[in-house]
Symmetry: C2
């Protein structure tokens, strides 16, 4: 079958509600800084009302990555569940606008479209409170063999493990990808998410994944080690491509004995780190599907991340394809 798509991504379909806050706000509202916490609809409404200067934007980790890939000129498919409500329509429209195929049938009843209340602190760190809502309804029936077989890479976010049906959908997609020769990439998503599903993620790593994305804290949590170098020693013995992000320290890319240490791309001012990892994944995956070596793929990753953290919001504001061209990477 022809590979008409570069990447097919599965993730929670979420609309972000972003607001600048100070640390006092985080304390008052009992928000854990720097991580993602799952919340229920009641708390979602409460925080939504507490947010001042809020902005809405289509989000979701893997969906953001697809936005980055689209901005680089890649052809993508997104699989995720919204409800047929105002936020759901807004999410779908955002995918269509950037040219990402999004054909998952929306839920017609049940909980409303997911939202993520993102509190961005003065230092650019973001704390996320996520109401999963309709995104939990993603199921095995939403996985289409033809879509997965049509892509070079299947990209799955670890957050999907928070819902049994979405996890089942992911496992089905993985089996299809193996049959079809579609490479399987996975992001650990969040250190707490790793804490919740550590054993399952380790089994995925061992049996299913070709490409792993993790930031330093997630990778430490996965291997239960204290230092980055211990992570690296563990991952060097793994038979796959690992892209490990380290915030201001850039990234380390390893594929067995081939290791790249890549500095972060310069940013005039870090405004909001929301989506940095998603953008990195976009740049890195773009490098891989375009046949770049691991070093240049990593450099595409840090370049995309630098664009995202220079402004509010988790999706690119300028063409990543143009930026990559200026940097001599495409």
């Amino acid at each position: 079958m022809a590979r008409n798509f570069d990447v097919i991504a599965m993730g929670n379909a979420i609309v972000d509600v972003i607001a600048p806050v100070d640390d006092a706000f985080l304390l008052t509202h009992k928000i854990a800084k720097g991580v993602m916490t799952l919340i229920d609809e009641f708390r979602a409404n409460q925080l939504y009302n507490a947010f001042e200067e809020r902005r809405e934007a289509a989000g979701g980790s893997a969906a953001n990555t697809m936005a980055g890939l689209a901005s680089l000129g890649a052809r993508g498919i997104f699989v995720g569940k919204v409800k047929s409500d105002r936020l759901g329509e807004s999410f779908s429209e955002s995918m269509r606008d950037i040219g990402v195929r999004f054909a998952t049938a929306p839920a017609t009843d049940g909980p409303s479209t997911a939202c993520c209340l993102i509190a961005v602190a003065d230092d650019g760190q973001r704390s996320m409170s996520t109401y999963l809502g309709a995104s939990r309804e993603l199921g095995a029936a939403d996985i289409k063999v033809a879509e997965i077989a049509a892509a070079d890479i299947l990209y799955i976010e670890g957050y999907l493990w928070d819902t049994d049906s979405a996890k089942a959908a992911s496992r089905k997609a993985i089996e299809i990808a193996k049959e079809a020769g579609t490479k399987i990439a996975f992001t650990l998503s969040d250190p707490f998410c790793v804490g919740r599903y550590r054993e399952e993620f380790l089994e995925l790593l061992e049996n299913d994944l070709d490409i792993l994305f993790a930031n330093e804290e997630e990778a430490k949590a996965l291997f239960e080690v204290e230092t980055f170098d211990e992570v690296l020693q563990r991952i060097e013995s793994w038979n796959g491509i690992a892209a490990l992000t380290r915030s201001a320290k850039g990234c380390v890319v390893a594929n067995g004995g081939e290791v790249h240490v890549i500095d972060a791309a310069p940013v005039a001012r870090v405004v909001d780190t929301t989506g940095a990892g998603d953008a990195f994944a976009a740049g890195f995956l773009f490098g891989l599907v375009r046949g770049k070596d691991l070093g240049d793929s990593g450099r595409l990753g840090v370049l995309a991340a630098a664009e995202i953290i220079s402004h509010y919001g988790a999706r690119p504001e300028v063409s990543l394809e143009v930026l990559a061209g200026e940097a001599g990477l495409v």
Copy 2:
């Protein structure tokens, strides 16, 4: 022959004259910030008199490394040339005091003992103006087969290439080490030093060295590349152990496909970076001679460097052996 010594080091025998300065001083006195410049006796006297609050201490890159090794409990020999004058006696005494064997015969006439005028700026960066004096007189006659054969590792500083006779002595020592099965370690010393002898250093790397020490700028100069990752790709294909230091970014240790990325050890306040690389080499060499793996050797390196930069002066003020014990590294 029994290996009664861990490391034998060859380097310029220098007494440091250290003074805090501001950037205006560097401009006024035409001192290039952050590097080592060779000066003549006239300029040495001029700068010496311009320095206020000056302190004298035995120095020299490789000699500092031996001081670090002694502080870790290793057994070392230093080979270098002083004159039998006040500074020369002070240098010899400092070696004896810390238990490093130093039996190179002092020059009885000719130029006086070498000194290095170290201007330490507000940001901790040091600029070195070196009058090589008697240290240039080191020659092949000073190299003793038995001393080199008695050590596990021969450690040579690249600065020796600045003098033909010291370079000849180094080459003789390298040949003896190869015969005796003593491992050969080399430090690139300074980016300008690399610029002066790039081709020769590349030949050494290819034909003679087992262990290479370089900071990021030196390594970039050696391979004439722009980024750290390019250095790493070049060094990963080299058949030896490379310890690459990156200032606040820690170090990367590579031995073919085995790569370690090690963060800098925490320092409450960086006071003076003089000797950071020398101390790193001490910690790393100590790890190697004690049979530690490359990761722990690198961690010993960054630990020693952190001690040195937390105070003025290039030699440890507290026992590195105790620090390494507290860190669980010995």
